[in-house]
Amino acid sequence: MHKQRTNAIVTLYHKLGSPPSFYRISGYFLKWLLLLSIGLLIWGLYEGLVLAPADYQQGDSFRIIYVHVPAAWMSMFVYGIMGLCGIIAIIWRMKVAEAVMMASAPIGAWFTVIALVTGSLWGKPMWGTWWEWDARMTSELILLFLYIGIMATYSAFSEDSRKAARMAALIAVVGIFNVVIIHFSVKWWSSIHQGTTVSLMGESHITWDMLRPLLIMAFATKFYYGYSMLKRARIYLLETESHKRWVQDTVNESNNGDKS
């Protein structure tokens, strides 16, 4: 006879899978995620906007990449997380996965909006137009439509939040396969319609002084996403589980904590 061993990862999975322990465990991380993201944001913006050397072609206007590129990365990263959570939500019906997915949607959508707006602000001095139908901008715009579709699906089934979340999960999963096809079709389309567009980075390799702030900003946005997503997911769980005992206990506890 050998003893039943508990795998640490399996335990963690089960713990994170239950809303009360997810709520409790995520509570420990919130403060640190917020501190890390604010700290890195200040550091990264200072390095990027003040310390990094000006570009020899684009001058100071290239500095918008310290907002634009991390936002564009996040728009795809968050969609990837949503697709993953969507698969988990459909197959294992894990409530926390639904919460993480629905909590991610507005954050990802706003990162997409930021990427689009900063891209067009950058496009004006660089290309001379606010909007260019180039492959990346077009697929980013379609990504925004996918985000909107997911949120619209969720709100259409407002009377049953679990059904709504699984419906939205299905769209997220279908979307994640499609994003790849859309991206390549749009790339191919823009290559036949307007020849090669100006390649932004060109041949010039980015120097470490310019790259470092970008990486710092990439981490800052990741931590911000972590903070904001957990915060939203916690509220989502409190709302959807409001009839459960643990929610009442949590609310009572925090009310007492405020009074004392």
């Binding site: 439509f145 579709g149 699906t153 259409a156 089934f157 059904k163 419906m167 979307g175 096809i181």
Partner: protein, 221 residues
């Protein structure tokens, strides 16, 4: 009788009784196409230039008008539940529904497209490619639409949501379909976009019925 064929036959019979569903999308196409010369001016050159895009976008919009019907009526009268409850695989039932829907709404669009092409002065040498590209592309509309229809069938006003959900997913079809027609109207070979379009059809033929079946099951919970 084979359940697949029985379902197709039933849907065709029902569909042919409601003829408005078949001819209204065509009337819609004709109406919208009339607006283009009125707005742009009747110059044959301008119209021929935009013809491939206009014909494809019209096919997309006309399909979107009818997509919610794939499952809506069956949901309302309870047939969808019987598809789920029978031992016959649900993805195959979905495929039968999609096939019937395409025969009723997609095929007429394909057959009608030369008339639109004449109105827009598309070079007659590209009619073949136009019809072939629509023949490959419109079933993809029906397949992708079946996901949207399965998701929105229980909603009272799901039409707009369906459009928002399905349209971004159909951009690749539009890109390859329209560019096949553009290439052939310029006298080039349209093989490459047509092959890519066929690839999309194979993908949606094999994968989408499972997604729609999952959507139906979630929706009936």
């Amino acid at each position: 009788m084979n359940p697949f064929l029985a379902l197709v036959k039933r849907d065709l019979t029902l569909g042919l009784r409601r003829k408005s569903q078949i001819y209204q999308p065509l009337v819609f196409q004709l109406l919208v196409v009339t607006m283009f010369p009125l707005g742009l001016g009747s110059g044959a050159k301008t119209l021929a230039l935009i013809a491939p895009a206009v014909i494809w976008i019209l096919a997309l919009l006309a399909s979107l008008l009818t997509l919610d019907q794939i499952f809506k009526n069956d949901y309302d009268d309870g047939s969808v539940e019987s598809y789920v409850l029978t031992s016959y695989p649900l993805p195959l039932s979905v495929m039968a529904k999609v096939l019937a829907h395409w025969l009723l709404t997609g095929l007429p669009l394909v057959l009608f497209s030369p008339i639109i092409a004449v109105l827009l002065h598309l070079p007659s040498s590209s009619y073949g490619v136009l019809m072939l590209s629509l023949l490959i592309g419109t079933p993809i509309f029906s397949f992708m639409g079946s996901i949207g229809s399965a998701l929105t069938m229980s909603l009272k006003h799901g039409g707009l949501l369906l459009t928002i959900l399905v349209m971004p997913l159909l951009t690749p079809v539009l890109i390859f379909g329209a560019s096949a027609v553009v290439e052939s109207s310029l006298g080039n070979s349209a093989t490459q976009p047509l092959l890519l379009l066929s690839g999309l059809l194979v993908l949606s033929f094999t994968l989408v019925p499972f997604a729609s079946a999952a959507a139906i099951k979630i929706n009936l919970e």
